[in-house]
Amino acid sequence: MNKTFTIISREYTTRVRKKSFLIMCIIGPLLFAGMMIVPTYMAQMEDTEMKIIAVADSSHLFYGAFPETEYLKFEYLPNADLNKYKNEFHNSRYYALLFISHVVVSSPNAVHMYSNKSPGLGVRMHIANTIEKKLESDKLKTFGITQETLNAVKTNITVRSVKLSESGDEKESNFTLAMIVGYVVGFLIYFTLFFSGTQVMRGVIEEKSNRIIEVIISSVKPFQLLMGKILGVGMVALTQFAIWIVLTIGISAIVSPMFMPDVENLNETVRIQDFMDTGSSIATQQVDTDLINRELTGMLLSLHNIDFAVIILSFIFFFLGGYFLYGSLFAAVGSAVDGDTDTQQFMLPVTLPLIFAIFVMINTVQNPESALTYWCSIIPFTSPIVMMARIPFGVPYSQIFLSAMLLIITFIIFTWLASKVYRTGILMYGKKPSWKEMYKWIKYKN
């Protein structure tokens, strides 16, 4: 036992001291924090270049109709020859020349924008929306419908889903949030299983190919070495998680106030963001903003209802369970081959369930109650990934327990089988073994 500990500590310290570990530690949270901060920051980043657009309107419908922003201005040209404006464009201070033909009411191709740059999507959407809205309201007027009537007709609906638990508690659940959490956790577990599993495999191949293996197993049992390696690498992954969580929270806490909107000026930000995205007019923006506000508040509310203790505990459990299962299989693969290049043939059956699980997981976050999801969250080879993606949506404890039990039984069986292959494989050099031979290794007494 003491020697297993010595092995664990070597596997752990050599990896933790590597530069790549340090880099991953720093890059990880930057990536996570970045994923949260960058979109908001980008949305806030205004296009600060002053753009003046010349409007040549031969339909005479749009004089003064375009709403201006701080950096986007419109100048309405007296109706004259378009060709003349075009010729003069290069010497003018205009960002673009907007030409609206008199057939604008009936033809979708009646609006042209001339520019020596390519105007951004925001600008184009802003113009298109304005023209559409203006024509729409003009047409409504001819039918005798006022803007007030129209607003009164519109109804906004948000579906707030409330989960009824068996005890009768009502919990507000937010699908989008559960989806995001499920997706992130599922992916994190997939990525880490793959990464750590490969690390174990590489470690085994290294020991085998540089021939230190025989010296070591004359001191310790192969099973001790295998366990020491799997546990050591697993602890590296857990350490990485811990560092990521602390750093992500830290970075977000420091950086967020600088970039993230406060609740008070949420309106402002959303409007800008909205403007950039759709360029819709101010009037409808207000409505959208309220809607988004409600949505956000709902999310924040249900954030409290997601049981993070359950998520973190089951994450650690399902990661470890899945990791023992796959780690020992990866180790068996590593022991059977002489070098990295030979691994392909044996890797496929090991990685296939993992890849299958990630596809199911993507389905799960959209449809957490499907039969496929249910079975894949119970079956041990896919359960670490799929169950983790399901948990944020709320899973009965009995199912988590069943899945956990099956995972424990499976990893014990497979670690035992893998250790048998490992024990023989590490001493075999030269010929790449066949599946039949590996099966024989399992049956060897000693």
Partner: protein, 305 residues
């Protein structure tokens, strides 16, 4: 007293018999040569002693007791195919390997410093293994093998990769260990070093033990009444006078003729001398005792016929 007794050990790997009913006794505080052609089963035997594999049948006794898991700490093993973690620092790695043999960290460090100084590799303590030359890596491996002061040492081709100076130093270290009471199992194809170092040998061929005993005994067993002599005088006359004997080899030099004669058991070597001195002057005369290399070849090819 035997430190290690292997009795009727058989080991098969999926259809291939690696060891077939092999019994070997390894006497204490001696250097024991484990010989045999490639693939004869030496490595399997060594792995059984190291508990890397277990025999299918037969008993293995360490100092009269059945082998148990903790015995690995009383054994040191330097495999033929040996390696180190390339990316790890030399000192750190040596401590790690010593810890796996049951030494404490401080004990290991203290002993390592002694040996590193003795082998003049102390400046490499903090360097990575991949920066070391092959010979230096071999030194590190040798030190690690003997560091926990095992009662039984197993060296599989220990001299490969060493220059003659270092090989000689290593040989002296092995003999020194023997003098301190350790038993050494020495597996090699270099028969000259077997004669220099080993007290006893066992020869394994085709999974079976075909020869065992002390080096002197084995060589005497193979000597077969053959005599070599050098003389001056008429080469032709001497040859003619020996016409009744089986002449194994002869060569003519001006003042140094050579002849190697196999005598029947019934004839005394004196009668051979008498015949030679009649026709020439005897310079040297000795009984021919085959060296281990010749015995190895004779035993193995004779067996395979």
């Amino acid at each position: 007293m035997n430190i290690f007794s292997i009795e009727n050990v058989t080991k098969t790997y999926s259809g291939h018999t690696a060891l077939n009913n092999v019994s070997i006794d390894i006497p204490e505080s001696k250097v024991f040569g484990l010989l045999g052609p490639n693939g004869a089963g030496k490595t399997t035997l060594i792995r059984i002693i190291n508990q890397i594999t277990a025999p299918d049948s037969g008993t293995v006794l360490f100092k009269g007791q059945p082998l148990k898991a903790t015995d690995v700490e009383r054994i040191g093993y330097l495999p033929e195919e040996r390696g180190l973690y390339k990316k790890m620092k030399v000192g750190e790695q040596a401590i790690y390997l010593a810890q796996l043999k049951g030494l404490t960290k401080s004990d290991a460090t203290k002993r390592l410093k002694y040996w590193f100084n003795k082998f003049e590799i102390m400046p490499w303590w903090h360097r990575k293994v991949e920066e070391l030359s092959k010979g230096m890596q071999q030194k590190v491996q040798f030190i690690v093998t003997i560091l926990h002061e095992p009662e039984l040492l197993i060296f599989d081709e220990p001299f490969s990769g060493f220059d003659p100076i270092n090989a000689n130093m290593l040989k002296n270290e092995i003999l020194e260990l023997k003098n301190k009471g350790a038993t050494v199992i020495f597996s090699t194809h270099n028969m000259t070093s077997v004669e220099e170092v080993c007290d006893n040998i066992a020869l394994i061929n085709n999974s079976e033990k075909i020869l065992e005993g002390s080096v002197t005994d084995v060589r005497n067993r193979y000597k077969g009444h053959i005599y070599e002599c050098k003389y001056t005088g008429s080469f032709q006359y001497v040859l003619e006078s020996l016409s009744g004997f089986e002449i194994v080899e002869h060569s003519e030099h001006e003042a140094n003729n050579y002849i190697k004669v196999s005598l029947p058991e019934s004839i005394n070597s004196n009668s051979l001398i008498e015949k030679i001195i009649k026709n020439g002057e005897l310079i040297s005369f000795n009984e021919f005792v085959p060296n281990m290399n010749e015995i190895f070849i004779k035993a193995v090819t004779g067996e395979n016929k």
